[in-house]
């Protein structure tokens, strides 16, 4: 089984406005966890950016950091714009309004390659009604 973690690239991984912690982060301690986090050499936390509030965080959960660092999970990153497109696509097609966080995972479907026999499980972790203000701005 492949595990795929989708991170928030924000406006692009190297744009200075990103939250792609597995790429931009190094080992450190934040909010009581030893994990990967975005920081300076002096250990000061770097301000992250993502259009989704839940991903706009300088670290990731320690379990995710471990799965990615150990190679068990693959990490890919999706920009603000790509996640918005995916969210609006699902809303229009299925009437399901995903949270912006989950929309990053949805968008990953477009960039990944699959075999016709592959079984896919996608975690649509949250509801998009909390993100309507953002969606309406981008309609």
């Amino acid at each position: 089984m492949r595990l795929i973690a989708v991170e928030a690239a924000g406006e692009g991984i190297h744009s200075g406005k990103s939250a792609a912690t597995s790429v931009l982060g190094t080992k450190g301690v934040i909010h009581g966890s030893r994990t990967l986090l975005m920081q300076t050499a002096d250990g000061q936390i770097v301000e992250p950016h993502s259009i989704s509030a839940g991903l706009d965080y300088p670290g990731i959960g320690p379990l995710h950091a471990h799965l990615i660092s150990s190679g068990r999970a693959e990490a890919i990153s999706i920009t603000d714009e790509e996640s918005l497109e995916a969210a609006l696509f699902l809303s229009r097609r299925e009437g399901i309004i995903p949270a912006l966080e989950s929309a990053h995972a949805l968008s990953a479907l477009r960039v990944m390659k699959y075999e016709p026999t592959d079984v896919l499980v996608l975690c649509l972790s949250g509801r998009g009604d909390k993100d309507l203000a953002t969606y309406m701005k981008h309609l």
Binding site: G28, V29, I30, H31, Q39, A41, D42, G43, I45
Partner: protein
């Protein structure tokens, strides 16, 4: 025995520990602040290593940390400043900060540098006891450093005993379940907590911090512990009057009455 332990041997009442954020108000005020605090009769100085995510701190200390970082404060510069100050004073000095700063400097290198520049103790509120005991205690003790752990009204008695065993110097009693910052008074609930801890007859001296800001709260804290720690109120005073010598003399006089 280091300077903090010596202090508590000769003084066990009304011990005044003042916290300041290194690099605030000015990048190079560290020496002036420590020497002014000594002149004003402070017993112990806690030097804050400014941090971007100061979990235990309220808005006053947060703002001073942000300003200090903008001023250009780094751990390396702070160590240089403290090494220079140590040549001029025997004041017990404690560095306070967060564990990520230690980790990025390199834990071993950090503890060794702290001892080398003549700092006596450490307060790292987010360093878990387990990690300390299993990874750092032997090194820290061999360097003669005194680490103070925090207890709060929610700390279980078993953990308080453990902290009493691991502490060198003093135990930091957080006065209430909140962040740092001046409060107007000490409540009955807090006093019940102070009494409960007194009744445990711990081996170590205790200083009460968080919410201590003036003569009244300092005196109350001193009734229930060996002294108190003041941070935010002093930083506010420095903000209002960046003339370090003058501000410090007035502030300490106000607290001690």
């Amino acid at each position: 025995m280091n300077r903090i332990e010596q202090l508590f041997q000769r003084k066990d009442k009304n011990v005044l520990n003042i916290y300041f954020t290194a690099g605030y108000p000015g990048l190079n005020d560290t020496e002036d602040i420590i020497l002014s605090l000594e002149k004003a009769g402070v017993d112990l100085v806690e030097v804050g290593m400014p941090y971007s995510d100061p979990l235990a701190d309220g808005p006053t200390i947060q703002e001073s940390g942000t300003a200090a970082l903008e001023n250009g404060m780094t751990l390396q510069l702070l160590f240089e400043q403290l090494a220079a100050v140590r040549k001029k004073t025997e004041m017990p000095l404690i560095m306070m900060g967060y564990f990520n700063q230690v980790m990025q400097y390199g834990e071993k290198a950090f503890f060794e540098k702290v001892a080398e520049v003549g700092v006596d103790g450490l307060i790292l509120p987010d360093l878990p006891l387990f990690e300390y005991e299993n990874h750092y205690k032997d090194l820290v003790e061999s360097l003669g450093l005194a680490v103070s752990f925090l207890i709060t009204p929610q700390t279980e008695p078993e953990r308080i005993r453990k902290i009493d065993d691991l502490t060198h110097g003093f135990i930091y009693m957080v006065s209430s379940s909140s962040i740092t910052g001046a409060k107007s008074e000490i409540t009955d609930t807090q006093i019940a907590y102070f009494n409960r801890i007194n009744d445990m007859h711990l081996k170590h001296k205790r200083l009460i911090g968080f919410g201590i800001s003036n003569q009244q709260t300092f005196e109350t804290a001193c009734q229930y512990a060996n002294g108190a720690i003041i941070g935010s109120a002093y930083i506010k005073a420095l903000k209002n009057n960046p003339n370090v010598a003058e501000c410090t003399a007035e502030f300490v006089k106000m607290v001690k009455g």
